[in-house]
Each structure stands twice: as C-alpha cells, then as structure tokens.
C-alpha cells in the first residue's frame, strides 16, 4: 500500500516530536512497513519540505549528530529560559578547553590533555564531562598504566547543535616549526645584542 505523501510527512513530523532523542534517517525508515517503504532519498526530500513549512514558526527542524530534532529558535531563548529559574551553569574555561582538546585530538589520554594545557586536569572536570555524557572511554593507550583514551560523543555535538566533528570551528593553524627556528635565530642574535 502506497502511503500518501502528506501522511508520510505527518508521520515523520510526529515521530521526531515524540522521540526523546533526535531521529536519524534510519530510525525514521523503520517506522514504515515493508510495503510502505521509502528510500532514504525520498525521506530526505520530505524532511526538507518540513523544514520549509516550519520557516515561520517558533521552531526549527535541525540536523544534529544523532539525527533530526525540533528545537525552539535561539531568538526566543530570553523568554523560554525563564521556565528554568536556575540558569544552566556556565561552562568554565577549564571545562571548555578540556573538551575542546578531546574533541579535536580524540582519542586522547588525560596526560596528553594536561601536556597541552600545562596544568593538571581536575577530576571534577572529567567527571562533569562524563556526567553530561559528552565524553566516553574508547580504549586504553598501550603504555604503562594503560591510561584511558577519551573521545567525545554524539551528545556533545548535539549540545552545540553540530551534526558532525567536521562542523567544529576550524583549529587555528600552527606555523611551521622550521620557519620558526629560522626566525628565532635572527631574533636571538638581535636579543643578545640588546641584552649584552
């Protein structure tokens, strides 16, 4: 039985709203019986249409790492956030730096994070990241002590409305070390002159 285009679209819309988690195309596909099957391509077209239909509403249908979800547009957050009298805790710089290193360098060990930050990473920060399900242990580095290798999760990406790691803001480039040491040499000579 072929379902009407409108019915399929309604089912997709209802399913995304009713699901507690974002829904992937595959999650949506399994909702239809064998004789109702739609291709991924068809589903994607219908989702695009839904996105357009919500253009004038307070919500938007966005794709994040774990799939599609509806969310209230950011412009209304000044009012919506009043529903939660306790403001969400501000993310500390230490936490942001730590999760940024994990996100860009994954998988990494805690020691490697500490080497980059130049300070000990507090247990609270690691715990806070685990509590949010933003990071997981994906294995162990085969060195003495077998330290845990940390990586970010899809929930981390979801929290920042990103659909994949490649959407992270690009990491600033490192200037070539060789050119650095060349430059340094010149400077050093000058330095010695002025310091001497």
């Amino acid at each position: 039985m072929k379902l009407s285009r409108q019915l399929v679209k309604n089912v997709i819309e209802g399913a995304i709203f009713a699901s507690p988690m974002p829904l992937s195309i595959d999650d949506i596909a399994v909702l239809f019986a064998d004789d109702e099957k739609l291709s991924r391509k068809e589903l994607q077209i219908l989702i695009k249409e839904l996105q357009t239909e919500y253009a004038l509403r307070a919500l938007e249908l966005v794709e994040v790492a774990s799939g599609f979800r509806f969310q209230v547009r950011a412009q209304f957050s000044p009012w919506i956030s009043k529903m939660w009298p306790d403001k969400p805790p501000r993310l500390s710089r230490a936490l942001l730096e730590t999760v940024a290193i994990i996100a860009y360098r994954q998988p990494v060990t805690r020691a490697e994070i500490e080497a980059i930050r130049g300070v000990v990473v507090s247990t609270q920060i690691i715990k806070a990241l685990f509590d949010r399900d933003w990071i997981v242990v994906v294995g162990h580095r085969e060195v003495p002590g077998r330290p845990a290798l940390l990586a970010t999760t899809r929930l981390f990406l979801d929290a920042f409305s990103l659909s994949s790691l490649s959407e992270l803001p690009p990491l600033a480039a490192v200037r070539d070390l060789e050119s650095i040491s060349r430059e340094i040499e010149n400077i050093t000579v000058e330095q010695q002159k002025t310091e001497g």
Binding site: E97, Y104, L162
Partner: protein
C-alpha cells in the same frame, strides 16, 4: 570572556602611586617592578583568571603586542617571575606548575645568555623552540574553547521541542513490577552522595544538638541499655543521623554515656556511664 578585558580591571598598570601601595606593601613591593602592581584583593581573582602558566605567559606576551615567535625571553621571564614572587609573598596558593614554568624560563634564559660557539652547530635547537611550540599549541585550544563557547548551547540558547506521543499507544503494554529493594538501592546511592556533599548544612533545620543530648540522657536515665542504632530516629533522615551521631560522640567525650559490645560484630549497646565500674 576575554582575558584582556578582565585583566585590564585587575591590573591597573598605572596605579603605582596609589597610597595603599606604599602604606601596606611598601617594603615588600619595592622589589616588584612598577608595571606589575596589582591591588591585593585582585590577586586571587587574577590567579583564577588564568588557566595555568601557559595562559599567564600568553597574557604577558599579548599584553606587549608581541608575537609568540618573538618572545624576548629575558623580559618575559623577569615579568613572569615577578608575578610568581608577588603571589608567594602574599601567600597565595600557587599550583606547582607555575613554579616549574619559572624554573624552565630561567633555564632558557641562561642558555640564551651563553655565547654561541663560533662553529654554529646546525643540529642545535633554539632553547625556546619547545616553549614556543607549547605556547602555540595551547593558544590554538584556548581559541577553540572560545569558539565552542560561542556556539549555540542547548539549554541556554536553544531548547529541544517535544510533543507527547500519540495518546493511545503511550502506556507501556507490560506493566512494570518493581521491587522496593531497587528503589532503596537507588536512594542509598543518593544518600551516600548527599553525605559527601552536604555535611556542612547540619543545623540549618530544626534539629538541635542540645535537645538531642537531653533526649539521649533521658532515655538512658534509669540505667537502661539500648541498642546503638535505636537512638537514631527513623523519621529524621540523614540529618537526624548526623545530629544524633554527633551528640553520642560528645556525650562519650564528656563521659556521660558509654558504649558496650560483647564481641566483634555483636550489637553495640549504649548506657549511662558507670563510674563505679570504671
């Protein structure tokens, strides 16, 4: 939050002539370079504003509009060490990493001051190379963290939108049969964590230690012996346990009550302190 903005307030570089400066810290601060004056209250804030020695170094470099690649090691080292000394003088708890960095800077500085051998060794690396590499690397992630903070955040900028599932099919078709042990277990975990977190709230509610002393003494006043845990009123929850426990400890100390136990793992009994037996 940009470090530059905060530190502008925290470090009024031109505040050298402030009266407080001379009066309170006069003797100590004569050793500190003038441009490093920091109001005393601001020091703790100052330290919190930095994520570590690399962050502090980056600040010192940026403050003077220098490129990381052009670090004038002697000058930066002087400033860095001055900050560290100031914090030590003021007894501010410094993470060990700050001291390690000071040592590293001093070492680099001394190596740079050594005259270069005439036959320049191609293999020899600039003593600053490793530090520059670390500073650059740290700066990249500092920037990445800032970028991350700028992204829309769930629960702050965006809120997930949900609707109820269709009514009829909502309820699980199989009823859940739980057992109380499961619930208790969950609550015990909560209590364990609560104990760790909130031991400082004792006394905020209406349970008075004084009153608990009296109740326990009264309870034992006719030479009665009770099992230890019977002294903990069930309905008072964690707070009651804590208050009662403190009361018992205090009464033990004052030799008003004593604990008896017939053997390991046997119940512990509480009774009035018996002077005759002691």
């Amino acid at each position: 939050m940009s470090v530059a903005v905060i530190t502008e307030q925290v470090l009024p570089i031109d505040a050298v002539n402030d009266e407080t400066y001379a009066r309170v810290y006069g003797e100590i601060l004569t050793k500190i370079p003038e441009d490093l004056y920091i109001p005393p209250d601001a020091l703790a804030v100052f330290l919190e504003a930095f994520e570590g020695p690399l962050d502090l170094l980056l600040y010192l470099i940026r403050k003077q509009n220098l490129d990381i690649l052009d670090i004038p090691v002697a000058e930066i080292t002087r400033q860095y060490i001055a900050y560290i000394e100031l914090m030590q003088v003021l007894n501010i708890d410094l993470a060990a990493e700050y001291l390690l960095m000071a040592a590293l800077l001093a070492e680099i500085k001394s190596r740079l001051l050594l005259p270069k051998p005439l036959t320049a060794n191609e293999e020899e690396e600039d003593p600053r190379a490793e530090l520059i590499r670390r500073l650059q690397e740290y700066e990249r992630f500092k920037k990445a963290a800032d970028d991350l903070a700028e992204l829309p955040q769930e629960g702050r900028d965006v809120f997930e939108a949900h609707a109820e599932a269709p009514v009829r099919d909502l309820l699980p078709t199989q009823p859940f049969i739980g057992d109380v042990a499961l619930l208790l277990d969950a609550m015990r975990d909560v209590m364990k964590r609560t104990v760790l977190q909130q031991s400082h709230v004792v006394g905020h509610e209406g349970l008075s230690l004084q009153q608990r002393f009296q109740e326990i003494i009264e309870r034992l006043s006719f030479g009665e012996t009770v099992i230890f845990y019977e002294l903990f009123p069930a309905h008072e929850g964690r707070l009651g346990v804590v208050v009662t426990f403190i009361a018992i400890l205090e009464l033990l100390k004052q030799k008003l009550i004593e604990l008896v136990q017939n053997g390991f793992l046997e119940p512990i009994y509480v009774r009035q302190y018996d002077e005759a037996a002691a």
